[in-house]
């Protein structure tokens, strides 16, 4: 079904839906992410929708160095994102914990807990840089669907996002 596969990859590239999660950020990167939805940068011209539920999204945008109290939440939300998924680490905090390096309250950079596909550096990154990161993640998603079959989803909790459940496995 080559035509269907091509159509699916094209659709994945052109319809990236985001879910935004804050794992202890100072909110600077969150503000810039929401600013990329404003008329000047307009993420919707790329088909981007900021979704309300992790199950609706393809791309998980995470800000913030991962604090100890948010590790379970990050892993749970990552497990709840369905299907072919990609993770964008926005800002230098999720990549390397930035100025909070060696802090006692942090559980290390984000890729210790979930596989990260794109890093958008900056403190905070400008909204156009965030959009470049999102588009790169959408291209990765399209490639991922082309070469790898969609894996079986890990069993995920059905109630509130912060309920107790085991984290899902990483993306192949």
């Amino acid at each position: 079904m080559n035509l269907w596969n091509k159509l699916m990859c094209y659709s994945r590239r052109h319809s990236p839906w985001l879910f935004h999660m804050n794992s202890g950020s100072c909110n600077g990167c969150d503000i810039e992410l929401v600013a990329s939805m404003t008329p000047r940068y307009d993420a919707e011209q790329l088909g981007v929708c900021l979704e309300g539920s992790p199950r609706h999204a393809d791309i998980l945008c995470i800000t913030g160095p991962v604090t100890h109290t948010s590790v379970r939440a990050v892993q749970t939300v990552y497990a709840q994102v369905c299907g072919p998924k990609a993770v964008v680490a926005i800002g230098s905090c999720p990549a390397t914990t930035n100025v909070f390096i060696d802090s006692r309250v942090l559980a290390g950079p984000l890729n210790r807990h979930i596989p990260v596909d794109v890093f958008v550096p900056g403190c905070p990154p400008r909204p156009d840089a965030i959009l470049q990161g999102v588009v790169k993640a959408a291209e990765i998603l399209a490639e991922r669907g082309r070469t790898v079959r969609v894996p079986e989803p890990a069993p995920a909790p059905q109630s509130t996002p912060l309920s107790s459940a085991e984290p899902g496995e990483g993306q192949p």
């Binding site: 159509l7 699916m8 094209y10 659709s11 994945r12 052109h14 319809s15 839906w17 008329p39 307009d42 919707e44 011209q45 088909g47 900021l50 979704e51 309300g52 539920s53 199950r55 609706h56 393809d58 709840q80 369905c82 299907g83 072919p84 669907g145 969609v150 894996p151 079986e152 989803p153 069993p155 995920a156 059905q158 109630s159 509130t160 996002p161």
Partner: protein
């Protein structure tokens, strides 16, 4: 209306084959016009189609038991009911219909809302329950006005047949009824100012929180088909009767398009109202007029 005509109307025109692209088109028109009014570009033309295809390719979380079966069933029921509602619209004049198809259309228009409520509860998620409770309150509030308005129009003309309603003489009651229906349509379609069940930042997508993949694609499709059916109903009731089919269809389409633009202007210009303000609006303000409409219809009928 025999079986062949019914199947043709359900599946070809104005049914599934024709209504699904129109649904995607109306969804795009709403997003694009809201974007233009906000000085943005907005999504490209085929965006709802690409969203649909992408959602078909996502995996769904595994669900067990009756809840899982029910959760899979609700979006399919919603889509079927919406397709049926669109298929009943008398786009082609004198295309057959039956006595009482107005009642069937109203019932089919209600089914997607009921499916959303049931879906929120059967997803056993806290946010789904809150969203469903809000949707239920909203449905009860606007439905009374909606149904009273339609019933008063139909009642005053002694008919429950959509085709006969499409050919009504222009009376003030008819246009007041259309106005009342237009006031209820934003609540039915979950657009501002009555977009309460979809309140993203408050309740994480409300009733559809636990849905993903092809089921979510079906929900989006049923939402688009609800747009087509609701605007088609208003167009049926508001348009003057045209004898030729080659003139009637473009006028119907243009009128529906105009209503979509009007609703987009409303959606872009207003903010989401809270539940108490919404309920107060429908129960205090509009209910008075709806009761006046039905009582004047009764009065006219008794007098004639």
């Amino acid at each position: 209306m025999n079986l062949i005509t019914a199947l043709a109307r359900l599946l070809i025109f104005p049914g599934l084959l024709f209504a699904v692209p129109v649904a995607w088109f109306f969804l795009w028109v709403e997003r694009k016009s809201v974007a233009m009014m906000q000085e943005r570009i907005g999504p490209p033309f085929m965006q709802p189609f690409f969203d649909f295809i992408k959602l078909l390719g996502k995996s769904t979380p595994s669900r067990s038991g009756v809840d899982g079966l029910l959760m899979k069933a609700w979006p399919l029921i919603a889509v079927s009911a919406a397709v049926g509602a669109v298929g009943l619209l008398p786009v082609l004049p004198s295309s057959g219909g039956f006595e009482g198809d107005l009642i069937l259309l109203l019932a089919l228009l209600e089914v997607p809302a009921i499916c959303i409520i049931a879906a929120g509860f059967s997803s056993r998620s806290l946010f789904g329950e809150i969203g469903s409770a809000r949707e239920a309150v909203l449905t009860v509030s606007y439905n009374i006005v909606f149904l009273l308005a339609i019933v008063s129009i139909a009642f005053s003309q002694h008919t429950f047949r959509l085709e006969a309603l499409a050919q009504l003489p222009a009376t003030p009651l008819r246009y007041l009824g259309v106005l009342a229906i237009l006031v209820c349509i934003p609540a039915k379609l979950h657009i501002n100012p009555f977009s309460l069940p979809n309140a993203e930042q408050e309740i994480y997508s409300g009733p559809l929180t636990e849905y993903a993949g092809p089921e979510l694609a079906m929900w989006q499709l049923s939402h688009g088909l609800e747009w087509v059916a609701a605007t088609g109903l208003v167009a049926t009731l508001a348009l003057p009767h045209v004898a030729f089919w080659w003139l009637g269809i473009p006028i119907f389409a243009a009128f529906s398009f105009g209503i979509v633009l009007l609703l987009s202007v409303l959606a872009a210009a207003t903010a989401r109202l809270a539940i108490d303000t919404t309920v107060r609006f429908y129960w205090q303000c509009t209910l008075v007029f709806a009761v006046l409409a039905i009582s004047s219809a009764l009065f006219m009928r008794i007098r004639s």
